[in-house]
Structure formats: C-alpha cells, structure tokens
Assembly symmetry: C2
Homo-oligomer: 346 residues x 2
C-alpha cells in the first residue's frame, strides 16, 4: 500500500491502472472505452466503473500513434476578430459535432509566414484533414499540403487553382454583381473604401471585379481610400468624411466590409445626408450587426456558415468513406445582394 489509488496518486493513470482495478486485460479495457469488439455486459460495466472511479482519461497521443488515426481537423484562418470566421467555425462545428472529428483552429493574421508556421505545426499532429482559408499560399505551404496526403479544403474563395477541394464564392463575381446593381440603380460617381491590407486577396478580388464591371459600362472609380488597423466602425466614419470632402460629387460609396460601411452610414445620417437619394451605400458580408442599424445597409451575404458546413462535410465524408474516394470537389456558392435601404435611387 505505497500509494492509495484515489486522490493522492501522482503518477498519471494508464490503461494498466484501469485493467488492474477491474481485473481484465488492458486490451479489454481499451475495447470497452472505445465501444469496439465484443465485450460482455458484465465486464463492460465493471471496467466503466473502475475507469470512472479512478478518473481515467485515455491518452489520445498513444492511441493515435498506435491506430494511425487522429480525429482532428486543422482549420486555418486569418483572424478571429472580424465576425466572418467565427461564423464559418459555427458551420464547421455544426457538421463535425455529428462525427468523431474535432476542429483545431490556427490563426495566421493574414501573414503568409505565420500561415506556414501554423500549418507546419498542425500537420505535425497528423490531422485527418485541413480546412484553410484562401487559395493563395506560399510555395512551401502548398508543398506541405500536397505532401500531407490528407483531404485539403480551401475555403472562402473560388477564384483560382485549388490544391484539392474548394468551397466558397467568387469574390470577383461578387464585386461585379455589386457594381452592376449600383449602376442599374443609376449611380455613376462611385467611391471605393477598403482595407489597405495587400494580403487580403479576397477583398482585392472583389475590388478587381468591381472596377472591371464598372469599366465595362465606361465608368471609373471616382475616388478610393484604404485604411489599416483601428476600429473599423470609426475608420468607416473618418474615411467617409475624408472622401466626401475631397470628392463632393460622389453619389455612391462601396465599402469592402460591412463594419466600415456601417461607420459610413452612421456618418451620413449624422450629416443629414439623404441616403440613398443623395448617396447610396453598400458593404460586404451580411453581418448580423447590420440588423440593428438605423437603416439597413445594402450588402452581400458571403454564405459563411454554409461554407463552413460544406467544407466540414467534405472532410467528414472522405475520412469516413471506407473505400477511399473523393478529391477535387469544388463548390461555388452564390452570394445574393440584400439591397436594404441604402441602394435604391428614387
């Protein structure tokens, strides 16, 4: 009786402890704990009880090594703070909750070198799949993803070459669509406001699609402004003020995200500007926040939760399928414009 089995026990518990406590082999304990193979009801109960009594928590590290199976899905996203990725995560969770898989999140802050590091770190845990935002990655990252030999789903964006599967929307098309809607409403002097971040490829693509569609109608961006850091809402205000002062003939403001769009809207309302009569406004994303604004900002839903769900489903299906399969799935969702109250020329 060197040490009692219950609390003062310091050495971490192993299967052996449970097996000794319940008088069966380690293998049987393992079987019980994983609900696998034939075990009689009697021993099952005995083992379960012993296990609970001791407070045993299986060591997945050993389990994963032995079984060559890791029920983790690496999810690599640029940021948690802008509302869009938490919603993707919700979608992912929704689907994975019904599988043995578990998401593990890594955040890159839009920096390729961090992405590389995070990816390396995650792959070293040999996950069952990777869900990663964007189609743009460093060569090293791409090489790792290809070499990993596991399902890879690139999300959010479909404008480009995917490594394996891909789920998202075409941001270029989204930009075009918005441009068309704005032109159709009769606006002609259009300003663009967005993030400075050269590494936010999706914002860039939206901008490209936007200007392209305008150009097709012979319209050119009247002014543009980019910001970096700080409160997006406040920046939206400031930028809007600056732009309207600099280019008073502006009659429409297209924001690269809803948050700065909301700031702009608040500014316009403060100034007594007639929205959407004098100036129209539109953002991008369809964030929940907009519901509480004094006026509904025009925006475009990016299908975030659905992207998460679809991506998770691909991983789940592929890692369940016994007879291998899948690969190269490509799902392009179509975002819809919500015109709200700020995109209606009288």
């Amino acid at each position: 009786m060197t040490d009692r089995p219950t609390p003062p026990n310091r050495r971490p518990l192993t299967l052996r402890d449970v097996s000794e406590a319940s008088g069966v082999s380690e293998m049987t304990v393992s079987r019980v704990l994983r609900n696998r193979g034939d075990v009689s009801q009697a021993t099952r109960e005995r083992v379960l009880e012993a296990s609970k009594e001791l407070g045993y928590v299986p060591n997945k590290i050993a389990g994963a090594l032995a079984s060559q199976r890791v029920n983790l899905v690496a999810v690599i996203i640029p940021s948690l703070s802008n509302m869009v990725f938490p919603e993707v995560m919700t979608g992912i969770n929704e689907v994975l909750d019904e599988t043995p898989l578990q998401p593990v999140v890594g955040v890159t802050n839009y920096k390729p070198e961090r992405e590389e590091k995070v990816l390396y770190e995650m792959l070293s845990w040999r996950p069952s799949g990777v869900i990663i935002a964007g189609l743009e990655h460093s060569d090293a990252s791409k090489a790792m993803l290809k070499a990993a030999g596991i399902p890879v789903v690139e999300i959010m964006d479909t404008d480009g070459e995917a490594i394996d599967a891909c789920v998202g929307i075409s941001h270029r098309r989204a930009g075009r669509k918005m441009a068309q809607a704005i032109l159709k409403a009769g606006y002609r002097n259009i300003g663009f406001l967005g993030t400075k971040m050269p590494l936010d490829h999706r914002a860039r693509k939206r901008f490209e699609g936007f200007t392209e569609a305008l150009a097709k109608e012979g319209v050119e961006i009247a002014d543009r402004e980019f910001y970096e850091g700080g409160s997006a809402l406040a920046k939206g205000r400031e930028m809007t003020e600056a732009m309207l002062k600099r280019t008073p003939e502006i009659d429409f403001l297209y924001y690269s995200n809803d948050m700065i769009g909301a700031g702009g809207l608040l500014y316009c309302l403060d100034q007594g500007i007639d929205v959407p009569g004098q100036i129209g406004l539109a953002g991008f994303n369809g964030v929940e926040l907009l519901d509480g604004l004094p006026r509904q900002l025009a925006t475009m839903d990016a299908c975030r939760a659905e992207i998460g769900r679809a991506a998770a489903r691909i991983i789940a299906d592929r890692s369940a399928e016994d007879g291998e399969a899948g690969g190269g799935e490509r799902i392009e969702l179509s975002p819809k414009i919500a015109a709200g109250d700020t995109l209606k020329r009288r």
Copy 2:
C-alpha cells in the same frame, strides 16, 4: 528503386526516411531537428537538406509520447462570437508566441455539458496547461482539472474559489462600481437590460453587485429586461424601446454588454432623446466598436487582453520552471469606468 523519394511517394515519411537519405542514425536526425546535443556542422547541414528535400514534417504524436511532453495549452471559452474572447486569445497568443507552447481552443457555448466534453477531449491530449473561462464548472469538470496534474488558470472572474490559479476581474465589484457612478451622477430611476442566459455567471454577478450597491443607497431597479439570441444591436434597440414605453420615468439604462448598449444608444438618438440629460446609458466591456458610435457609450473595460496575457504567463512560467513551483496564483485586475458621453448628468 521501387518508389522515388520525391513526390509520388505515398507512405508517410518518418525519421527513418530522413536518416537513410542522409546516412546517419534516426537519433542524429532527431537531434538536428530539435537543435539538441552535439552534432557536427557538416552532418547538421546534410540532415537539414535531406529533410527539406523530402518535405519531412516531424510526427509530434510520436514525439510527445516518447518525451512525455506536449507543448499545447488548452484554452476553453464559452464563445467566439462576442468580441470578448477573441481579445483574450490575442493576449494569450502574444505571450505564448515567445514560448514553445501553442494554444488550442475549445468552445463550450456556455453549456456545462459541452464544457465537460471539450475538457475531456482536450485533456486526453495531455496538454501542458489549461486556461478556462469562469469559476463555475460541473463537479466532473472540476475533478478532471484537479486530477490532471497540470497548471490550471481560471480566467475572467475572481468572485469564487479557484481550482488552482485565477486571473480576472471581480464582476460583482464591477457592477457595484458602475452603480455608484450612476448614483453619483444623480440618476435614480434605473433600468437593467441583459441576457437571459442563466449560465452567464459573470453577467449575473455584475447584476448582483449592481443591485446590491443600489440597495445600499435605498434605490431599487426600476425595470429590467432580458433577451436571448439574435443580433445584439437590434435586441438593444427593441428592449430599450419596450422598456421606455413600459416605464417612462426611467432615467438610466444599464446594459450587460456594449453591443446591446450601442443598440440602445442608437435608438435613443433616433428618438431624439437627450442623452445623457434625459437618459443616461452605460454598457460593459469596452469594445472597440464603440469608438465609431455617434456618441461615446459609457462602459467599463474588462481588461481582456491583459487577462489573456497574465494567464498565459502563468502557464508559460510554470511549464518552463525546472525546479517545479508555482500554484494558486491569483491576479485580480481592476476595470476602470470610461464615462464617455452618456453618463454625465448636466
């Protein structure tokens, strides 16, 4: 030459592959890759090159099992979508980035049974430490945490018994402080608006502290309203409208978070209510969003990033310290009121 070493290789790479490719033992490769022990410059380079060439990614599962060391820190939080936890994460990352430790996030959605499951799952990976939100946990969760034999830091809240270390603010005191400030400003007909969630213990404690401090001055809450789900901004509007209609004599509204507070503020401004003359407003948290509002909402900073930093530092210190040590640290930060523009009786 059954299979070429480069891309068409399907079997996952191991140390052995690298060791064969570079002509040294697996052990030496391991040393090189971990920068440990004596290795000559020449072999080091040879190994590194072979490793890169093959695209080898070490298997941490095997490494962790062999070394009994896992450089993961489990971070368990209720939600990602309310702005507060992402900021805590930022603080945690800031500190852990300079250590070999890596955070792994689990989300509980404020449900104790999910907390239990997530915790079990994470502990089964034998992390080096746990950072977990709140002091209220199921008995089973507490038992697991105690039995794990690793540093545990409970964050956000200091009103209660901690299992091990604890970093946060006293929400009860925060509620009291706000009540005192409101009374001092001369308001007497105070309404409270918050979440329905009975499991948000911190909101509850704030409420308790708040009413307690009011009671001490003989003041009672004039009205209260709770919500659930939906856009917080929109809910703030609706609830404010409802309350002001129901209890017109209200002269102050205390919101349990800034988001609904912002909704209330927008509503009041829409209605042409004199803020803070006729009605004063205050929220809680100090979210960045507030900077862009037409008027600065009074609030109280919850020290979120600092909490994250302090918690991470405790874990980092303890898992670095060679001669063991630490345990039971307790850090109570003091939130400060930011009066903004909505808590000034003329």
